[in-house]
Amino acid sequence: MGILRKCALAGTAIVVPALAGPAAVNAAELLFLAEDVPAGLNYDGPAAAIPTSQTGMVNLMEPLFGYATAAPNEDGVIVPDFSTFEGRLVDTWSYDEATLTWTLNLRQGVMGCGGATFNADDVIYTFERAKSVSGAAPIGWFLSNVASIDGFTPDVFGDEAARALGDEVQRIDDYTVTIRQSEPNALFLPVLTIFGLHIFDAELMQANATEDDPWSHDYTNNVGVPSFGPYCLESWAKDDEIVFTANPDYYRGAPAIERVVMKRVPQSSNRVVILRTGQAQLVQKLTPREFDSLREASGITVAGVSGNENLFVHMNFDVPPFNDPLVREAVARAMPYDQIIQAGYFGQAERWAGVVPSSYPGFVAPADHQYDTDTDAAAALLEEAGYPGGAGLEAFEDAFQLTYVAEKETTLGPIVTAIQSSLRQAGFPVTLNPIPQTQYGDRQLVQRDLPFAINDQEKPIGVDAGYAVQLFFVSPEAGGLNNMVNYRNPDVDGLWAEARVEPDQAARDALLAEIQTTLMDDIAWLPVVEYRTQWAYSDRLQGMQWHPDNSIRFFDLSYAE
């Protein structure tokens, strides 16, 4: 090795004599390696669903509300206290039940990166833009609709006049805004914490508007997003890197880390290697095996949180034999839960005992509706369903193609193999069907024709059991949004109709608990595990905090002295 090293060093010295190595990162800088960089900074634009785009938005923009923080977890990661809202751009607020109106007293003296001062005009502009549904993916409108803000109905898509903002969001004075709901809805405050309603700097947005693009979608898709967040955009090269610099005027105090370079390194193994050399200080989206390999590495901390990432089995109620409750339960009993936790996640996951993230308010785990691995019970259920030893299931071979996202082969490969092996042993003719992410998304969200699949990418960004229920389990006719398994239960629809407008929190929680028990009884989804959201970083870095969108806020971080 010594000779090789000498030769290599000599070669390098000849070719690049001026280079001693990569530039060192100074104490106030952070090099963050990610699987990608933001593809867009427009939450109503085409890149809004991409997690790294959301990371860009949440570090440059500011919400009206946020959550208070709770004590750090066992890994030292600070987690939110979902029961307590904090005003961010809102200073104080009140709610009038009689008129369903929220009065928001806005924070004064908040400065944006462009030098603009935050006031009511920025809030009005943000809701006007959301209601214009002018972007490719109108998330702002969607969240306003979910929160029952008056006038944000589907009518806006067909009727141009309905797109104008009326008095439902009203400017009272420079620092007071009122927002009226169409019905009582507990999702109002949770929704206003989500990136899809963060506040724009109206002045700069309007300065970058054009006749063809009055809402500055091109600008936010490609150039930047003016707001009042903790960081300002220094430079942005799509598919390469984005550089943030601290906003010195940030109202919560200037960020401790003055400059953050978020660099795209597509190979997770390279992110590991670069972190280990100390040239980068923070990495994300490694495989469970890679996180595990870093746990003992010197100078590196691996930390995580059981937040809202999970894995479940998707069985389509419209596709036989998954319309048979006995078959569904047999699959549940044949599932190798412990093997998945150990082989798939290296122990960094726990059994998921419900269908809502267990960290969310309102989560329940019905004790008498849990399905442990029991192959004898699975065989008995199959026999009861008319398929003794799996005989007769060969007629449903297409339905038993276990579909998963091909791009996630490294993570999901060992898991689907374990499931296939366990289910075949029980008599199910399971085959594997990896397909591209976009095709998976199309079949799951639009066609809704995936018979049997494994899914690790559904995390309700609205932190509320009711939001999750409405998103995934309510039938489309009753206002369901993303019912990918075509689950229809009039009882659940009816209970949700009550819970949605129930103003009393305890009564609402009771209704949501009943819904969750029914969902577990019907095995609407087959919950498998909740896996930890993890990061690996320099042990000098402190303040790591988890947020429900799983995007890191650089403002939370600082270096230990």
Partner: protein, 342 residues
């Protein structure tokens, strides 16, 4: 004569481009997924679907979409004829601008790699052919077994581990420059050229340093077939009548070798041309390992996201470059081989 030949080839190339453009336009619409799902992930309502469909222009009949894409429907906006490749459905950015960013990275990588591979492969192939069974020949045999037995990304990862992580003589695989380096202004898009134009020798040297491992990886892979091709053609040429005649005429061995090499170069150049066209998109794994945002990575991202305009743009650009390379090769071929007539 040459001008007529080049004009004829350019016209044929243009027809090929048009046919391919139309074929790709229809073929990608046969892909088994609807790109709209990406837009409605958080909001899969019918209204949102219709909105996304409208925003992508997919609500119009296919022939109208084609006319718009080709630039033959002025009422729908600009298209190819006006030099507009459309906007990406992933990022919203103009495709021409994105390709203009990614293409130079790939061209820089593969051009340098081919240049180095050529410099190594031709003398090694010659040596191997002129002394069959000699050390060089045996070395080539072992190397071709070795290099060809593993894919390029495996070699790339191995090189990163060895030269960056273990030996510390190569930079981290973080693209063409360290993230903390301030880049020179973009003039041509080629970092080595732009840095020199800006008088930034430090950046030029850093870019070379960062290119060291990806180029070494590609050279390691590309040299094998080029050496083999040069060697085989040299062996064949050395056995030909004109070499026998040259030997009988008492010409010096070096001159004979030069004649044989000239005869061997024509098919070797053809191989290099084909490989060059292939590597425009085929360097994707090396680009990925070394975090180089090149055209291959852009193509893969576009395909996985069913980003129709970007896929069409990439195919068009790769085809145009490949056709230009083939044309250039034909001209070189004629210069090397006097038997070729236009």
């Amino acid at each position: 004569m040459l001008l007529r030949y080049v004009t004829k080839r350019l016209l044929i190339g243009l027809v090929q481009l048009v046919v391919l453009t139309v074929a790709v336009f229809f073929l990608i619409r046969l892909l088994p997924a609807d790109p709209i799902s990406r837009f409605v992930g958080l909001n899969p309502s019918e209204e949102a679907y219709a909105q996304a469909e409208r925003s992508l222009g997919l609500d119009r009949p296919v022939h109208v979409q084609l006319l718009h894409y080709l630039g033959l429907a002025p009422s729908q906006g600009t298209g190819l004829l006006q030099g507009d490749l459309g906007d990406s459905w992933v990022s919203g950015s103009p495709i021409a601008q994105e390709i203009g960013t990614f293409l130079p990275v790939t061209l820089e990588l593969i051009t340098i790699s081919f240049f180095v591979a050529f410099l190594i492969a031709v003398p090694v192939g010659m040596l191997s052919a002129t002394r069959p069974g000699g050390a060089a020949d045996r070395g080539v045999f072992v190397y071709s077994l070795f290099a060809g037995s593993q894919p390029e990304f495996w070699w790339g990862l191995l090189f990163v581990y060895l030269f960056f992580f273990v030996l510390g003589v190569a930079p981290a695989p973080l693209g063409l420059l360290s993230p903390m380096t301030s880049e020179p202004a973009v003039i041509t898009g080629f970092i080595t050229i732009d840095s020199l134009l800006a008088g930034r020798l430090d950046v030029f040297l850093e870019a070379l340093h960062h290119l060291m491992l990806p180029v070494a990886t590609l050279v390691f892979i590309l040299s094998g077939p080029i050496i083999k091709m040069v060697r085989q053609n040299m062996v064949r040429a050395l056995q030909s009548d004109f070499v026998l005649y040259a030997r009988c005429a008492g010409l010096p061995a070096r001159r004979i070798a030069f004649y044989a090499l000239r005869a061997a170069m024509a098919p070797s150049m053809t191989l290099i041309g084909i490989l060059y066209g292939f590597m425009l998109g085929g360097a994707v794994l090396v680009e990925s390992v070394f975090s180089l945002g090149g055209l291959g990575q852009y193509a893969i991202r576009s395909i996985l996201a069913f980003d129709y305009p970007a896929i069409q743009g990439v195919v068009l650009v790769i085809t145009a470059i490949s056709l230009s390379v083939y044309l250039l090769l034909d001209i070189l071929h004629a210069m090397i081989d006097p038997r070729v007539a236009y």
